[in-house]
């Protein structure tokens, strides 16, 4: 026993324990930082924030102490580590919401925490302004920490595991990703985090310049860089009614929803990379196209009178949906059905691979569309050899299969999730848009659960289903699908290090 506590005997061997321990320690640091913010602000809830931090530290520390990094990491092991650490950190991250009495019911606290760590931004908190600064800081912090993990996952880990054809991420622009999970992944992570921190600081400064106070600037920068979307104001960005703030947030969201591989290259001086990579071009085309179309629809439907106002609403909402951030300025559930449907459609692919944005990712949409159109070509020339292309690069058939397989599972999850949520007691629009929003980690949905409302519109069981969808979408489906397999050891494993 003594040996255990002193770390002289490590009884748990497995990546899952190490990663979970690290994640919990990080969460502890985050909660402690929130406690510091609370202390500065007045400190009513200081103790309520300190003891969860202590719990996180102790749990994480003990786990790290008694676990050993395994010699070899299997695919299933890596998936399980990612998924379980996300679940663990979400559970521990829910404790401050309970201890401060912000959300007195355990499943509400868990929902808020899951929504935070998955960078979704769907909330069940109604009285936001009535909460202490510490807990609001923690709420934004969950997203920022989630984003920190995600950047590494999206750029380095998932492509390495070839999830849903994500290895294509380096087809057009090789990034900093490593070919082994260890130990160089640490260097990759450091590089990516530098970019991520840099973005956060930049956004904070920009927001301060355009007139936000420090607390709001920091929390909004957290949520924008991680494309999460939690705001310490109940009317989100709409509270300020300032064009300058909206412009800063739009730019921040667009950067957050774009690939960090490209940002990394750009920081190294290769600015042309944004123009070379076809997915980045598509990302900008989608943003511009959606803004233009929304502007027209808003004017035609008479939602906005002037072109300027329509453009402002359209640009903000296109960016917030495509980047999967979920900040709000307008209640788009009052718009015409075509504008709303357009937003719903944009939620499905959402942003770029290698970013913190959710959704199926534009890269996969590119491959999917070309795969479908190739069949039209083949119907006329059955023997033709037509590769699916990304930019000018032909994509290998097995990669195409992985992408298509991913897309099919994604679509199926939306359909079944939508039916389930609807059957649990909401109308069709609210149910299906909730499923699309949750699996895409967008934040707001349509119908009853729009930006001006909360996810309390869904009955508790439906919120449970949405929570599962958030995790499923966030961890690129496969991590969740395999998270139990690692424990059962039912599936034979591939040695990652032997590639």
């Amino acid at each position: 026993m003594i040996d255990l506590v002193l770390g002289r005997r490590q009884v748990l061997s497995g990546l899952v324990w190490v990663i979970t321990g690290l994640a919990l320690l990080t969460a502890g640091v985050g909660i402690a930082a929130s406690a510091a913010v609370e202390a500065v602000d007045g400190g009513d809830e200081l103790v309520d924030l300190l003891w969860p931090a202590l719990v996180a530290f102790i749990l994480g520390g003990v786990l790290l102490r008694i676990s050993a990094f395994p010699g070899r990491v299997s695919t299933v092991g890596a998936f399980a580590a990612v998924a379980w650490s996300w679940v663990a950190v979400s559970i521990v991250g829910a404790v401050p919401f309970l201890s401060t009495g912000t959300l007195p019911v355990w499943y509400d606290a868990l929902f808020e925490s899951v929504s935070g760590f998955t960078c979704s931004g769907s909330t069940v908190l109604t009285d936001i302004e009535g909460q202490g600064a510490g807990i609001l800081f923690w709420r934004s912090m969950t997203q920022w920490l989630g984003g920190m993990g995600l950047v590494v996952l999206a750029v380095a880990v998932f492509p390495l595991l070839r999830v849903g054809g994500l290895e294509l991420i380096s087809a057009e622009a090789p990034g900093p990703e490593t070919d082994r999970l260890s130990p160089r992944i640490r260097d990759t992570a450091k590089l990516l985090w530098q970019v991520y921190f840099g973005l956060t600081v930049l956004v904070t400064v920009a927001l301060l310049v355009v007139g936000m106070d420090l607390f709001d600037a920091v929390t909004h920068a957290f949520a924008a860089a991680s494309t999460g979307g939690f705001s310490p104001r109940s009317s989100s960005i709409g509270t300020y009614d300032s064009v300058a703030i909206e412009v800063v947030i739009i730019i921040a969201m667009i950067i957050g929803g774009a690939s960090f591989t490209l940002h990394y290259r750009a920081v190294q001086g290769d600015l042309g990379v944004y123009r070379r990579v076809s997915e980045a071009r598509l990302y900008l085309q989608v943003l511009v196209g959606a803004t233009a179309l929304l502007t027209v629809l808003l004017l035609v439907d008479g939602v906005e009178d002037g072109v300027g106002g329509a453009l402002r609403s359209a640009a903000f909402n296109a960016a917030t949906i495509v980047s999967s951030c979920g900040f709000g300025t307008d209640d788009f559930t009052t718009w015409g059905s075509s504008a709303q449907f357009l937003l719903l459609v944009l939620m499905v692919p959402a942003g770029m691979t290698g970013s913190t944005s959710g959704g199926m990712k534009l890269l996969r949409l590119q491959v999917l569309v070309r795969h479908a159109l190739r069949e039209v070509v083949r119907s006329r020339h059955p023997q033709a050899v037509v590769p699916v292309r990304l930019g000018n690069q032909p994509v290998a058939e097995d990669v195409v299969s992985r992408v298509v397989g991913f897309a099919v599972i994604y679509a199926t999850s939306i359909l079944f999730g939508g039916v389930l949520v609807t059957a649990l007691g909401v109308d069709l629009v609210t149910g299906f848009s909730g499923a699309v929003s949750a699996i895409g980690n967008i934040g707001p949905a349509l119908g009853e659960a729009g930006p001006a409302s909360t996810f309390l519109e869904y009955p508790a069981p439906a919120r449970g289903a949405l929570m599962a969808l958030m995790l499923l979408g966030r961890l690129e489906l496969f991590a969740v699908l395999y998270m139990f397999a690692g424990i059962a050891r039912a599936l034979p494993r591939r040695r990652l290090t032997e590639r």
């Binding site: 695919t75 299933v76 070839r162 999830v163 629809l297 559930t333 718009w335 059905s337 075509s338 709303q340 449907f341 357009l342 719903l344 569309v369 070309r370 795969h371 479908a372 159109l373 190739r374 069949e375 039209v376 070509v377 083949r378 119907s379 006329r380 020339h381 059955p382 033709a384 050899v385 037509v386 590769p387 292309r389 000018n392 032909p394 290998a396 058939e397 097995d398 299969s401 992985r402 298509v404 397989g405 991913f406 897309a407 099919v408 599972i409 679509a411 199926t412 359909l415 039916v419 609807t422 059957a423 649990l424 007691g425 109308d427 069709l428 149910g431 699908l481 395999y482 034979p492 591939r494």
Partner: protein, 519 residues
Amino acid sequence: MTAGTGARRRPSFADGHEERLDQRRSVAAVGMAGVAGVSATTAAICLVVELLTGAEEWLSFATTLVLAAALAAGLGLRYRLPPVARTTALLVGVVWSSLLACGLVALPYLVSGLLDPDAAIFEAVAGVTTTSATTVRDPGELGHGLLLWRAASQWTGAAGVVLLVVVALPQLGIGGLDPGGVVTRSARRVAPRASAAIRRLGAVYVGLTVIAGIAYVAVGMPTFEALIHALTTASTGGFSTRAGSLGAFDSAAIEIVAIVVMAAAGTSLPLAWRVVRRREFGALWSSVEFRMYFLVLVVVAVVHLAGNGVDDGVPTGIRQSAFASTSAISTTGFEIQSLAAIDPGAAAILILGMGTGAMAASLSGGFKLVRVMAVYGFVRRELVRQLHPGLKASVRVGRSALSEPMVNRMIGSISLSLGLLVVGALVLSAVDPALDSSTAIIDAVSIAVTSVANAGPADVGGASLSWPAGLGVVGRLTSSALMLVGRVEVTPVLVAAGLTSERLTVLVPRRRPNRQLDR
């Protein structure tokens, strides 16, 4: 096929271009002549019925008869089917024939002046594509001739689809429904020659219609209405003689007959032929697609029952759920309860069921279950491959392995249909004033799904039975287009519209000289 290794085959357009055009024209002309001939025959029958029962609209049918007969004679005498026809020629023929069919069917509605031009076109397209949506608020006000014309358009439309699906499309492999590939027992070729196959499958279809008619009469439906409903049930069309669809009869027996006939119409015709003709009842259950069909029917009914409840007693509740499930999955579209009036969860599962459709090579619309099963097999393989990247395994449906091109065709066709749905719903919600309120988003989506799947009922603000009547001109034309494209599939339409390989590759992947390919 490994990307980037094989040299791109560049077909030369200099040689044989004229010949191909000729071929395309002949095939289209023969197809259109056939359609015109069938329309003329139907018009003649309706003319007789109209003259016998009241003769109000005899002029419409006489006009149609003359025009269709002239067209059939003109085209039929001038053109002959070429000995060999290329894929493109057949696809173009299919698309033009269906367009002509819609035009001819619309003629009596237009001449009689009962419907506006857009409503007439909608009614015709809904008929030919066997969709039950109708612009006629109360069919009871129509004369016997027109009622028969509507029902006959569905019956012949479905017959055309059998011809298409069982004889033409499989040769082309559109959507992966190849001969022999369409999975095992359910669609193994029924006869070595196409003509014999058509005769046998036609016999099953006619037999089902006759049995349905007799059964309807036996349970107390008036004879003429029984005839109409037999035509529209066996074809999974769903037009009715009454404003309240089959629910207007308020008869449990009639509903049960409809359930059985609809379920039968959703069964693969080759499979049905084997079961009936060869007395191989075991073949039914040994078909993996049929087992799936049965399972889906039951599951959708149970979910519907769970959502809808049993307020009117358990037997009624079960009957209603079985009816709703069968009507949706066979894409017939008869209603006893409006889709907008039931529990949202139940409505969601029904809309999903319409999209899925019933068995391949049946009379139903939708994706077809075999494709859904193939996609499931594909996903399962990808899940295993994620862990074993080098794994060589084929996608299986039941015991049969599907070839990679076929799997790709199936998935490609599903992607295209989904794309069509999204674009359709977006256009519908953008152009139709009736669908542009902030709550109309589900109306637009459900109209798009029901149109593409050729089902009929949609979840539209409380009045799902006559949703087309509430639409504007553009909305009706848009959903007509969706029905038509849904019925003949997206690929033939794209090919017939000239969106062929050369242009597509410019449109989508940028074609620059590629060192790897030109090596």
